[in-house]
């Protein structure tokens, strides 16, 4: 190895007493760094890659349009068949028959609504946390 014991001082001493031009000073600098590049240590991986891989975040699954295509096609066919078989006016009448004519809001109703919303929020939070 030609650079054993090389320090900046020992390198610079080669030029002591010489009046260097700015171009020569530039060359001197380039030579010094070129020496450093030649002796750049190759760092062993040790556990570096392992640590990086352990710290990688899980990537969210991207939607694959090809995978969703059969579902979309099935839905379209289903809607087409339903529109041929079911009369829309009759369907609306049957749905409206289920709507009550009067709605009474009692404290018990409000309480059960609040409980239902809380339960749904909790379920949503738990699902998100589990996915993380």
């Amino acid at each position: 190895m030609t650079t054993i014991g090389l320090t900046i001082i020992s390198f610079m001493n080669q030029f002591t007493g010489k009046n260097l031009t700015p171009e020569q000073l530039d060359q001197q600098l380039d030579q010094l760094f070129a020496r450093a590049v030649q002796t750049e240590p190759v760092l062993s991986d040790d556990n570096f890659t392992k640590v990086v891989l352990n710290r990688l975040p899980a990537k969210p699954k991207r939607r694959d349009h090809k995978r969703y295509f059969p579902d979309l096609l099935g839905l379209m066919i289903g809607l087409l068949v339903a529109s041929l078989v079911i009369e829309p006016a009759q369907l609306m009448q049957k749905i409206l028959a289920y709507v009550p004519e009067t709605i009474v809001i009692s404290p018990a109703n409000v309480l059960s609504l609040a409980m239902g919303l809380s339960a749904m929020a909790l379920l949503a939070w738990w699902t998100v946390e589990r996915n993380n």
Partner: protein, 187 residues
């Protein structure tokens, strides 16, 4: 997987979210990225390795944005220098220079350098890192890419997202600063 080309490994990591493929990319580039960050951080090995880890994590997150026509190493450098400059800005805000303090000679002698030859090689690396550390971070990054990584001015401008004129100014002023400091060391 060891025989796959860089392009194939990137493709596998992006399309299949293949972490083994990404691991191969990390293995191939870890040494140069860690060395560069050591040079920039005044040979602070712990800090440089932390920044290098963050660099690869960011690279993994943004891998789908990588333009396959570009050079992967240049793209990694770009992330690494951004990490380094971000760290410097944070430090400047906190006025905490402790992270960039050079390691003592006796510490360096114990860390990794097993033979006299390795210690001598390390000495030049650490001295150059100390020399560069006296220059402000952005100019230091430009000089490092020019002198150590031997990039062209245009490549430096692309990597650091700087106008070419700014790169030229950093090079001219940085060279003059380095020469002054070298002369000072000689005295």
């Amino acid at each position: 997987m060891n025989n796959y080309s860089e392009e194939v490994l990137i493709e596998l990591a992006v399309r299949n979210d293949d972490q083994h493929a990404f691991g191969q990319l990390v293995k191939q580039h870890q040494s140069t990225i860690r060395n560069s960050l050591r040079q920039l951080s005044n040979w602070n090995e712990a800090l440089a390795d932390d920044l290098a880890q963050e660099t690869f994590i960011q690279a993994y997150k943004k891998l789908h944005q990588f333009n396959s026509k570009a050079k992967f190493s240049s793209w990694l450098y770009r992330i690494a220098y951004n990490q380094f400059l971000q760290h410097c800005r944070k430090n400047q805000a906190q006025k905490n220079a402790a992270d960039l303090e050079p390691l003592e000679d006796h510490e360096l002698a114990h860390q990794g350098a097993t033979s006299t030859a390795e210690q001598a090689e390390n000495q030049l690396q650490t001295q150059l890192a100390a020399l560069l550390s006296e220059i402000e971070p952005e100019r230091r990054s430009v000089l490092h890419l020019l002198l150590y990584r031997q990039c062209t001015q245009q490549e430096i401008a692309n990597i650091l997202s700087l106008p070419l004129g700014t790169v030229k100014t950093h090079i001219n002023r940085g060279r003059a600063e380095l020469q002054k400091k070298l002369a000072h060391w000689q005295d």
